[in-house]
Amino acid sequence: MHGRPRKAPKPEDAAASAAKAEKLRALQSQLLHNHHNQIYTKEALEISAKLLEANPESYTAWNYRKLAVEHNLSHSESDPDTVKSIFSEELRVVENSLKQNFKSYGAWHHRKWVLSKGHSSVDHELQLLDRFQRADSRNFHAWNYRRFIAALKGIPDEEELKYTTKLIETNFSNYSAWHNRSVLLSHLLQNKVKGFFPKEKVLVEEYEFVHQALFTDPDDQSGWFYHLWLLDQTVKPETPLLVSTWPAHGSDIIVSAEGCLDGRALSPFTSFHSDAGTFPLILYFNEAVEGVNSSTVTVKSVFTENKDLVWKPLATSKSCAAQAWVTHLNVPDVKLHPSTAYPIEVNLGDSQGIISLSGSHCSHPSRFAFTVCVQPLSSKHAERQSVEMILWRDVNFHFYDAHVQESSPIAYFDRLSIKKDHEPAASKWHAKTLVNEIALVRQLLSEIDCKIGKLTLARLLMAHDAMVSYMAPHSHKKVHSEEVLQLYSDLMELDPMHSQYYKEAQSLVLLQQVTSNRESLLKHCCHHRVSTSSSVGNSVCLRLNNLSLSRIGCVEQLLWVQMLDLSHNELRSIDGLEAMQLLSFLNLSHNKLSSFTALEPLRLLKLLKVLDISYNEIGAHPVDTRRYLCSSPLSHTVGSDWNFNEFVPDDAKVTNYWEAFAIFRGFNLTQLDIVGNAITDEKFKSFLIKVLPTLKWVDGEELH
């Protein structure tokens, strides 16, 4: 089926082919006949052997042979020599079949079946494997069989590791050998086997080993993939860490129900307007974790009993794991003193329970504390309940006046990130290794223009920056961002086929630059003010529009955002937004969203009221790349509340409507802009209005 040249059939070929076909067909019908009638004579077995040598993929013949073996064994009075010869005959047939097709699943499985009976020489198998490896070092059947034999014989991982060393030294371009090496080393490191501890010592040796491959053949991918794994082992923290929270440590939050607070200019990072009588408490980790609950996280406050707190993972799937977790604290209805700052303290990591997907426990205690001040509704404000339509026009945005200081609310920015004094500084070895690798890759790149080398350098520089900012959080200067942005631009030219990949990486670097210090962040913060109204809404908007962003990142720095403008970018997905629990106003117009299913993260934003998805590409693509990344009947992730059929008009195109239903049901939107998408027509709009009963404006028109 593979690799046969295309040629026009010649008459003599057709005749020869027909003759061969006749012979094979005869063998097959005889085999099936013998099989169905349980005939296991020597002649019958010969027929099956002939068939399998000609066509090892005829799987029923392998089944037949197993039955024949079982039959003949039960009739052989367990004479050890007979037993052995029965099995060695099977091995002979397998070997002959493998000569015909050394990738036949049936043949390899038959061999495993024979070996697992325990009557055959394992050493002979290792010799056989050696021959196969030399013929084709990438034959994964042989590698899998080798793993099976190693387990059967009890060959220790260290021995097998030496085998991979031998193979790699013979030929660096042996991805299979590198892969097996990574599997074996992982086991040895994890089990802290003698000679493979401490981890740092082993990694140093592995780095030296892989450097030889990189310098010998920099265009071969095998070494670079292995190097990436080593890098991951070097930079990734051993245990999950809390990296950000909202409210932030040391902040003073004001919870109010109205925007009007007597004209005080408040820090956008610390004031929160809530109609619900609750406010969220968000924990953001460096990786997805499970087990965040009221036993593993303690919240001390006058507002709620810790044991009553319910923590939810902010994941767009039925997963119990997420990077961001949220709980809600109730603001009690009792008349609280309006100027009192009530303290709240959060502790986690004291007890085991928060674990990453790979099973490591969050074991470093973290503590953060903040205060909450409650601003009650004045009766004047209570009357003016009207919700106003948001217009995302430039004229409505006014740059945040950084000079208006109000007891330095901006200072809180530095404390958005968790204090790390509880955490022993990342070992010097990690930082030194990164510096070494950076120097080495630079050296290599000075000799040869190598795409994957450039990509590795970009990754190394970003990892280095991340490590520096972790170890010294107040020196926020990202030393390498400009160089990394340039590297990705180079890569887009060097390797245009993968330019979208590099573009997304660039977006992440750009967002890092923007969020890395308060000056750059404030440049993107604006007041939103509807000029006709005399009352001042104190909405502060983070404007990240027109930045060619194709991806969202650095969400841990943006947990405080309530109003976000991401319009006029190149976003295809909004993964990450689900952690921004305070988000109430969101502009995603003029992007590249191509399906409703891409909006799944919004389902976790319970405060979202205003959404603009106009001028995207929804309905313009037959292929939906988010189909399995959202809850739907297709992936068995919807509950019994899936009452889609009640909403769909009779002649509707089912596809488009179910996606919109899956995303929007249960939303409390007051304003939605959807014009400029291929899917939007009057029928669809009326469907949406049914699904979203709280809507007041659609595409700028007030509903009645």
């Binding site: 089926m1 593979h2 690799g3 046969r4 040249p5 295309r6 040629k7 057709a14 082919s17 027909a18 076909a21 094979l24 067909r25 097959q28 169905h36 993929e57 799987y59 029923t60 392998w62 089944n63 699943y105 499985h109 495993k112 079946w113 990438r138 994964f140 590698w143 991805y175 299979s176 892969h179 097996n180 990574s182 599997v183 992982s186 071969d220 991918q221 095998s222 993939f225 990436l228 794994w229 991951d232 799937s317 997963s319 794991a321 086929m497 993968h498 990949y501 295809r572 997905s573 037959p622 292929v623 790349t625 189909r627 399995y628 990344l629 009947p633 297709l634 992936s635 068995h636 179910w658």
Partner: protein, 317 residues
């Protein structure tokens, strides 16, 4: 013409598939006799994607499919051949194409499949016990189509698949096995169908997968191997399910697939100027459908069936 993508020879491919269905006497056909059920799925799904499923005799095909069912409930690759999970899925898929799943004793087939799950969550291919994540996918896909997924232990099935995840983000056929695009497709699909894609590191795997695209625009199945049209399906479907398909150059891949056509006799081959077969014809056409080539029906990346067939099963009243 310079810059033009090129044409898909729809008529030629339809004729090629119809001829394969009828041709039974040359060597290639006899050698593939044991997997005719797979061949039926590849050929018929291709016809449906091209909008030409009505060109076959539905009743004849369905009665042949049912003749391949064994008393255990499983299906063999052809009449008289032993049952195996591989051919059971193809049988279910073929019946789904014709909207005739109701001819099945659904519980009988489902019990056969569910009975192949092992203690550790893995699946055997048949009673002889070969274990492979391909079979995990097949079990989950067929039981989903039959709406009997609750007959297996889904959590254990998912855990087994996750145990086959490698350090490069990909998946192999058994724990510790090297990442391979075919196995990745099976594992990612199985995770997709069970709402478990959070187990996939999408950036890491997405990069590994997009690096399958070589200079010619074609895709290979793992690093430093030769490209092949069938990877247009395995790699592309996987990328689509994790929403990273835009990380490859679609135009160049379309051009490669079109270059693999036999424009005179119909059919698509693994590489330009190689012999064609119905396997590569399906994967070439399905790959083009994923790339939004005009005139083709959309195909579901996890169920590997036209989207309208899948929607009919999950969204009809």
């Amino acid at each position: 013409m310079e810059g033009q993508i090129g044409d898909l020879e729809v008529e030629k491919h339809v004729q090629y598939i119809l001829s394969v269905e009828k041709r039974k006497d040359n060597f290639e056909s006899v050698v593939m006799e044991h997997l005719r059920m797979n061949g039926a799925y590849w050929g018929l799904t291709t016809l449906d994607l091209l909008g030409k499923l009505d060109m076959v005799d539905e009743d004849e095909i369905i009665s042949w499919v049912m003749e391949c069912q064994h008393e255990s409930g499983g299906f063999g690759g052809n009449v008289g051949h032993d049952p195996h999970i591989l051919y059971t899925l193809s049988a279910v898929q073929v019946l789904a194409l014709f909207d005739k799943l109701n001819v099945l004793d659904i519980d009988k087939v489902s019990n056969y499949i569910a009975g192949l799950q092992n203690e550790d969550g893995s699946f055997s291919g048949d009673m002889w016990g070969e274990i492979d994540t391909r079979f995990s996918y097949i079990a989950i896909c067929s039981l989903s189509l039959l709406q009997r997924l609750d007959k297996i232990n889904v959590e254990k099935a998912v855990n087994y698949i996750v145990s086959c995840k490698n350090l490069d983000g990909g998946f192999g056929c058994t724990p510790g096995a090297e990442s391979h695009a075919g196995q990745i497709f099976c594992c990612v699909s199985a995770l997709a169908l069970t709402g478990s894609l959070h187990h996939v590191d999408k950036d890491l795997l997405g990069w590994w997968l997009c690096e399958r695209q070589v200079k010619s625009g074609a895709l290979n199945g793992r690093p430093e191997k030769l490209p092949d049209v069938c990877y247009s399906w395995w790699v592309l479907s996987s990328l689509i399910m994790i929403d990273r398909a835009h990380w490859i150059d679609k135009e160049k891949l379309i051009k490669f697939i079109l270059d693999c056509q036999d424009k005179e006799n119909g059919g698509i081959s693994d590489r330009p100027d190689d012999a064609v077969d119905v396997f590569h014809t399906y994967f070439g056409v399905a790959g083009l459908a994923h790339l939004e080539y005009p005139g083709l029906k959309a195909v579901d990346p996890a169920y590997a069936l036209p989207v309208d067939v899948v929607n009919r099963i999950f969204f009809s009243r």
